[in-house]
């Protein structure tokens, strides 16, 4: 049985179409990653699946319950972690857990809360005000709060944003453990490809409210991975000379060629262009899959910001 079923889910905020009909399924016990550029609709998807907002159309089943018609049952089965840490700064860590327990309707919470605090290294700080916690401590407290009622499915919106390397790897370990030992299904969003590759069995990439690919990291790399050859040049390049090798993007001073098996073509590519200052080759990775599927927006914006900044400078005078 699937933990999450999403069918043609759409969400409109006024004029903004945050989701334009996405469908995917997550099996029980999976760690599923939702990737996409800023504004793609990841948080919106999580908000619908956790019952925080209603879809404009389409259907979603979480833990066997319809998110619209059986929201209370859905909420009993899930845990949720926001991308911005949400805890009550004016209460202690322990009091935050107590409120969470009451909100979630957990009766014998004390023992479990103490255990979770110990597990997350917060036992000493339990009676201190959360406002005085560090970012990492607040995040760990939030994770403890999400686990307090023993959810079947955990939604984590950018769980490791703002954590240092050690804390990040620590949280990865936690996610792996609760997934392996307790069979908790995890749906997480992230902007770190490394994190997605490390944790997720399967990944969905969404862009501008549409699902553009789903699969294991390996499948995605095999199917959508491109090698990227980046040339720095001293004079303008005629793109038609490079187009036999793959898609060409010309920027001022740089040329990007998206291709397969770059190592075999590299010599020919270099020969086709005059005035090369430097060459860089990026082999297919989740990074290049992401760039390939969501548009080479990074290169495009690079040129725009130069022009924009020039205008801003001019306006200041």
């Amino acid at each position: 049985m699937s933990a999450i079923v999403v069918e043609n889910l759409a969400k409109r905020y006024g004029d903004v179409e945050a989701l334009r009909g996405i469908s995917f399924e997550v099996s029980r016990g999976e760690v599923f990653g939702l990737l996409g550029p800023n504004g793609a609709g990841k948080t919106t998807t999580i908000k619908i699946l956790t019952g925080l907002t209603k879809p404009t159309s389409g259907r979603a089943i979480v833990a066997g319950f319809d998110v619209v018609k059986e929201a209370a049952e859905v909420k009993r089965s899930i845990g949720w972690i926001a991308s911005e840490v949400i805890v009550d700064d004016e209460l202690t860590g322990w009091e935050n857990l107590e409120i969470q327990a009451r909100l979630a309707g957990v009766k014998n919470w004390r023992e479990r809360a103490a255990e979770l605090l110990r597990y997350f290294g917060l036992a000493e700080a339990a009676n201190r005000l959360v406002g005085k916690y560090s970012t990492g401590m607040r995040k760990r407290l939030e994770v403890a709060m999400a686990l307090l009622h023993g959810p079947e499915i955990l939604f984590m919106d950018e769980p490791t944003v703002g954590l240092d390397v050690g804390a990040r790897m620590g949280l990865w370990e936690v996610i792996r453990q609760i997934n392996k030992d307790f069979g908790v299904t995890v749906l997480l969003t992230t902007h770190y490809m490394e994190e997605a590759e490390e944790l997720c069995g399967r990944i969905a990439i969404i862009n501008k409210g549409r699902l553009v690919a789903v699969g294991t990291p390996g499948e995605l790399k095999a199917k959508y991975g491109v090698d990227v050859v980046e040339l720095e040049v001293s004079k303008p390049v005629d793109p038609s000379k490079l187009s036999p090798f793959g898609e060409v993007v010309v920027l001022d001073g740089r040329v990007v060629v998206k291709t397969q098996r770059a190592e075999e073509k590299l010599a020919d590519i270099v020969k086709a262009v005059d005035g090369i200052k430097s060459v860089r080759v990026k082999k297919a990775s989740l990074d290049t899959v992401f760039i390939n599927l969501t548009g080479a927006s990074i290169e495009g914006e690079h040129a725009d910001i130069k022009r924009l900044y020039a205008r801003v400078r001019w306006a200041r005078r």
Partner: protein, 235 residues
């Protein structure tokens, strides 16, 4: 914060409460039912304070939205109406905390209370209901907003007219006919009169006034629950 909250009714009592001190005693006794305007005003001031404190229900909800905390709450099975009722209960408690403070100030300023115990009990119940009712009323108006200024604006918009169309500060006998009619539909009038019976006149409880307040609380809470269930969003 607390000092400011307490300071407001105190200023009313000290400055406004003494503004009629020069009136002839006979006039005061005839129109206010007691020779000391301060005594007349204290139950009204308590009603006004309990009403004003209702704003904290709507403010707290707006802040929970702003801080994202409402998302945390609404991803749990806790119903939206429970959040609403909790906010109303919280603001009502704040309002009740003002009661002993104002009573004490009155006593310090020389008001002698003529207490009727049965009326006191009824008044206490009335204050709880009125506190819940006003809190619910404010919250209904700000259920859709996450603007932190909205509760303050709504508060002025509701409390000012309610205050001046009730008997909290002046007796009905002063009013033109149309104002008397409004005053008869104003919950602030009833909770004030309950207080006067209990505290100033030493009279037996007025069941009708209590029923009026209960009806006010029932309507605002029922409407509030429905509105919140239908319209409250996490952000």
């Amino acid at each position: 914060m607390w000092l400011m909250l307490v300071a407001q009714p105190l200023m009313w009592i000290v400055f406004f409460g003494n503004s009629l001190a020069g009136l002839p005693r006979g006039f005061l006794a005839q129109y206010f039912g007691v020779e000391n305007y301060l005594a007349y005003m204290i139950p009204g001031m308590i009603s006004i304070s309990v009403m004003t404190m209702g704003m904290f229900a709507s403010m707290s909800l707006v802040f929970d939205k702003r801080l994202g905390y409402l998302k945390r709450v609404l991803t749990t099975p806790t119903p939206k109406s429970a959040v609403f009722l909790a906010k109303a209960a919280g603001a009502m408690t704040r309002g009740l905390l003002m009661v002993p403070v104002i009573l004490a100030v009155g006593a310090v300023l020389g008001v002698g209370y003529r207490v009727n115990p049965a009326s006191m009990a009824m008044w206490a119940l009335g204050l709880v209901l009125a506190g819940l009712g006003f809190s619910a009323l404010f919250t209904i108006f700000t259920v859709n907003t996450s603007d932190v200024h909205a509760p303050g604006v709504i508060n002025n918009f509701i409390t000012m007219p309610l205050m001046f169309t009730s008997t909290a500060l002046f007796p009905k006998e002063f009013f033109p006919q149309w104002l008397r009619v409004i005053s008869d539909f104003n919950p602030l009038t009833y909770i004030t009169e309950l207080g006067r019976n209990a505290l100033v006149y030493g009279m037996p409880p007025d069941i009708k006034a209590l029923l009026a307040i209960a009806a006010f609380a029932a309507v605002t809470i029922t409407v509030g629950v429905a509105v919140v269930e239908a319209r409250l969003e996490a952000d």
